[in-house]
Symmetry: C2
Subunit: 132 residues, 2 copies
DNA sequence: CGGTATCCGTATGGATACTG
DNA sequence: CAGTATCCATACGGATACCG
């Protein structure tokens, strides 16, 4: 298992297995993929563009993320045997449960951002007073 | 902002701010710290040992994680001016809200592990059939 | 179009040593 | 004990090229 085996640390098998799954769904791109698929299914490039509205993702990382989520049973991959190729990604019932919780958490952070901002301002101010 | 400035990518300021906060609470060690502090407060090394039951964390990463969570207003740091030093970490009301959701998500993944395992087995079997 | 393969710079984070 | 500072291996992930 070398440097470029294409698997993130969150995909290798160590520690308790459910920690890994948690890492998958809360990973950088996992969150955005699940959130997008919660609303509707997407084709690969379409999904890349949708996610790109928030943060740019490379093809490699998107493919990797989708594979991981598919293997875990959260995402369904439907490759139509047509030319040009067409692959649709949708969320599974299991994935929906995960995605809803992830989205709830994301919404919560959004809603509490002002509290966080104030906490940060206070923290930074306190540090500036001690170490100017 | 160089190589060893001690801040993870999740701590640098890019993309929508609430994505950053989400990264903080769902980060590798953030999850474990919040989960531990949800039950009671801990001293630094005590917390390190507690988390170590699941996965070993370096002093550096634990300190970094605690600082980030403190700055976001999720964790309260109480440094007693005694010798030897004693620092207690506890969760704030805001942090509790986050931690409860994170714990719920963690519990969910634990509860659904058998579904995930089956999905993985099916996925792997399908791949083995195609590319033996 | 929807990927996979390869290369590669660099942020990430672990080990160690040191300090108050 | 509770950190900070430093060093450094590596895995993370972006860019590019190419294939079915």
């Amino acid at each position: 298992m070398g440097v470029s085996d294409g698997r993130s640390w969150a995909q290798r098998e160590e520690m308790c297995p459910h920690r890994l799954v948690l890492e998958h769904v809360t990973s950088r791109w996992g969150v955005l993929v699940l959130d997008a698929l919660l609303d509707r299914s997407y084709r690969f490039s379409e999904l890349r563009r949708e996610i790109g509205k928030v943060s740019t993702v490379s093809e490699k990382m998107l493919a990797q993320t989708l594979q991981t989520l598919e293997r875990d049973g959260f995402v369904l991959r439907d490759a139509k045997p047509v030319i040009p190729p067409r692959v649709d990604y949708s969320i599974t019932p299991l994935g929906r449960e995960a995605a809803e919780q992830v989205r709830a958490l994301a919404r919560w952070t959004g809603a509490r951002m002002d509290d966080v901002q104030r906490a940060r301002a206070a923290y930074d101010a306190a540090r500036e007073a001690t170490a100017p």
